[in-house]
């Protein structure tokens, strides 16, 4: 019996993710990588570099912008794509609203779930047969059974009862015209793995992931950022009448649409400190910070069925 050294857990996860991205490149005719400027998709770009350099990525990057994204994240997104010399496509929920395909229930409604509509429109516009995303199975329980290659029908719908069995590392990313595969290379990563990878690779992040002081209000027990500047300079998330604005030292654990992403109180201003904080936290990533997942126990499952990532 020969005992050989094994890969560290991060090396293993990275190797698996590279393998999955290359399977997409090998099996799909016209894939796209979804890049939001968030920490998971930043890891995905590093994995893509390791998978395909010195060549170019065999797919463009795309962001579905709600128009309500943090300025720091949007600027980072553009900067990172430019540094890599890769093509970035941006499609906007506001364009879907202008077309009338997205109708908000009221002006302040979170646009997060409406990204599904814009995403499906972009898939049709470009004829993408596969979208590579940075979702992880540990994020939420509707994701625990998600395949690495997840099949969506012509309406972009995920049917949990009709998913392809996935065995060994033999991925089936085949689809007919109009259908779509969602590929998740970092399915097996946890929030901790992501932070450890960012630390190991020395990856740059948008500044709002680190502790900073910002005006917030406390609304139903959650810290809600207010007077948040958009890229245009306009302020959004204005406080409601009677709410008391306080300055708090906070950081974001996830970033998404401003209306539904809340920060946590933290003084962690370096990746090292965040790794330590992640190891000792008592609240889950989405539990703490995603206002949209708390609506009902099954809210993520519902959104996925409707074509959400």
């Amino acid at each position: 019996m020969t005992q050989r050294s094994t890969l560290s857990h991060l090396d293993w996860l990275e190797a698996e993710a590279i393998h999955i991205m290359r399977e997409v490149a090998g099996q799909c005719a016209n894939p796209v990588l979804l890049f939001s400027g968030g920490k998971d998709s930043i890891c995905m770009l590093r994995i893509a570099e390791k998978a395909f350099r010195p060549g170019k990525f065999p797919f463009p990057l795309m962001h579905i912008d709600t128009g309500h994204n943090y300025k720091e994240v949007v600027e980072f997104r553009d900067k990172r794509a430019a540094e890599l010399g890769e093509r970035l496509i941006v499609r906007s929920v506001e364009d879907s609203m202008a077309r009338g395909t997205v109708v908000l229930k009221h002006e302040g409604e979170s646009r997060n779930k409406h990204q599904s509509v814009t995403l499906l429109e972009a898939i049709e516009e470009f004829g993408f047969d596969c979208c590579i995303g940075g979702a992880r199975r540990d994020e939420e329980k509707a994701r625990a059974k998600e395949r690495i290659m997840s099949f969506r029908d012509e309406f972009g719908q995920w049917d949990p009862k009709n998913q392809r069995p996935e065995l060994w590392n033999l991925y089936n990313a085949r689809s007919h015209k109009g259908e779509n595969i969602r590929a998740f290379p970092i399915s097996n990563w946890t929030e901790m793995d992501v932070w450890q990878y960012i630390e190991r690779e020395g990856l740059e992040l948008p500044s709002i992931y680190f502790a900073h002081t910002r005006p917030v209000v406390i609304r139903q027990g959650a810290i809600v950022p207010v007077n948040v500047p958009l890229v245009s300079g306009e302020l959004t998330n204005l406080p409601k009448a009677g709410e008391e604005i306080v300055d708090k030292l906070v950081r974001f654990r996830t970033v998404g649409d401003i209306s539904c992403t809340a920060p946590v109180e933290s003084d962690a201003d370096t990746v090292e400190k965040i790794v330590v904080e992640t190891a000792t936290t008592t609240i889950t990533e989405r539990g703490a910070t995603r206002l949209d997942d708390q609506t009902s126990e099954a809210s993520m499952e519902q959104r996925k069925k409707e074509g959400y990532f």
Binding site: M1, R22, A142, W168, V275
Partner: protein, 423 residues
């Protein structure tokens, strides 16, 4: 360098087999809870649900409750993946439901696992389902089995009961040819012998479940393996701005087994041409050598026409190219296998059209007997033969899970309909 993990024992993938009645969900809940993987908000949520359902204590099995569709039916219909970490090792649990009709789920979950925990209810002993799970785990090539005799609290922590079940199991295992087995008594409900030893099983001197997991060998470490490198993608940058890249031709893939270094003599299949490894890279950076499970790029000294679906091997270890395969197949689809139809077989990164030529026998998963069969329906396991349009470069599954495995695809709807292991 990161100061956080002092040692890194890599990653272990394991499978839990058993039904809800065996306490499988409670066991997983317990592992997550006792390794502090469960955070306060999740715990609050299951506390509320436990109260709503009129239960006194927190029901840890609720942690593994999955989709709304399943919660309504009160069953688990699919494989779920869970994660925890001890600081020195990361674990991926494949949680497969235990009912007979879900053989396909168990095979799916087992395909990536290196260890299986077989749960036995101490009150019931070795059941048909225990035998079925053990046989499937061994068939799918899981090298390490842990037989966990659970619910010891309900048999007064009786050593006699434990020893009796152990003897029964060993008798069965000898018949089926399973050799690496470990036993332990436990109570998932009370947390005895999972992470902590508890006070009730002092007669048991062996390791706890977590100690067994921490010490289990990682995949690919126990035997010397042949080098197998299926080509996934070919990188030809042809960047006009950088003349150094003009002739760059990188073969990208994952080392499925064995190892490779600069200077090794290799053969490219199917054309059979030989060359020497000029460079081993990740992301364009030279790393000199690579071993199992690493995703790398190989550059060869000679210009050989190579594309996705080809395989690079060491010239001293060339696998046979076959156009007919004998295999154990688990049928996964609701539509039975149609002998008149042509299917697609995907083996490593290579596809071939295939037609069934014979069903030698079917395995009755309950009696474990070989029975004659004319057709294959969902959850059936059978020994079959396929005729192939393209040659495949194969190893026996028991020697190499990566080059001995294949999936069967129905091209009409692109579904994965079968899982095969070459014998």
């Amino acid at each position: 360098m990161s100061a956080h993990p002092i040692e890194d024992h890599g990653l272990l993938r394991f499978l839990t087999c058993g039904s809800v009645d065996d306490g499988k969900s409670t066991l997983i809940g317990r592992l997550l809870f006792d390794t502090k993987t469960i955070l306060a908000d999740t715990l609050n949520a299951i506390e509320k649900t436990s109260q709503k359902r009129g239960m006194g204590a927190v029901d840890l099995s609720l942690l593994t409750d999955g989709l709304q569709a399943e919660r309504e039916q009160g069953i688990t219909i699919d494989v779920a993946y869970r994660y925890f970490s001890t600081g020195t090792r990361k674990y991926i649990i494949a949680d497969a439901p235990g009912h007979e009709q879900y053989t396909r789920n168990m095979v799916t979950a087992a395909s990536t696992a290196n260890l299986a925990i077989i749960l036995i209810d101490a009150r019931k002993g070795v059941l048909t389902q225990t035998r079925r799970h053990s046989k499937l785990a061994s068939m799918v090539g899981i090298p390490h089995l842990v037989v966990a005799i659970n619910k010891m609290d309900l048999v007064d922590y009786s050593q006699e009961t434990y020893e009796k079940i152990k003897a029964d199991y060993l008798e069965f295992a000898a018949k089926v040819g399973i050799d690496d087995i470990r036993f332990l008594p436990m109570s998932a409900l009370n947390g005895d012998m999972i992470v902590d030893r508890g006070d009730s099983l002092n007669w048991y001197e062996g390791p706890t479940l977590l100690e067994i997991l921490e010490a289990a060998p990682a995949a690919h470490t126990e035997h010397t393996e042949k080098f197998r490198f299926p080509v996934q993608y070919v990188c030809r940058p042809q960047d006009s701005a950088n003349p150094e890249l003009h002739d760059y031709r990188g073969f990208m893939g994952r080392v499925e087994s064995g190892s490779i270094k600069v200077g090794d003599k290799v053969t490219v299949l199917p054309n059979g041409l030989e060359s020497t490894v000029k460079a081993v890279q990740i992301g364009g950076v030279d790393i000199g050598e690579a071993s199992t499970e690493q995703s790398v790029t190989l550059l060869l000294a000679d210009e050989i026409d190579t594309s996705r679906g080809d395989m690079i091997v060491k010239s001293s270890e060339v696998p046979p190219a076959v156009k007919e395969i004998a295999a154990t197949v688990c049928w996964l689809a609701e539509t039975p296998l149609d002998r008149a139809r042509t299917y697609l077989i995907r083996h490593t990164t290579r596809d071939s059209k295939a037609k069934l030529t014979a069903i030698d026998h079917r395995l009755d998963v309950n009696t474990l007997e070989k029975v004659p069969a004319e057709k294959l329906s969902m959850n059936d396991i059978a020994q079959v033969r396929f005729k192939l349009a393209q040659p495949l470069f194969v190893d026996a599954y028991e020697d190499n899970r990566a080059t001995g495995a294949f999936i069967v695809i129905d091209e009409s709807n692109n579904n994965t309909v079968g899982a095969g292991m070459i014998r």
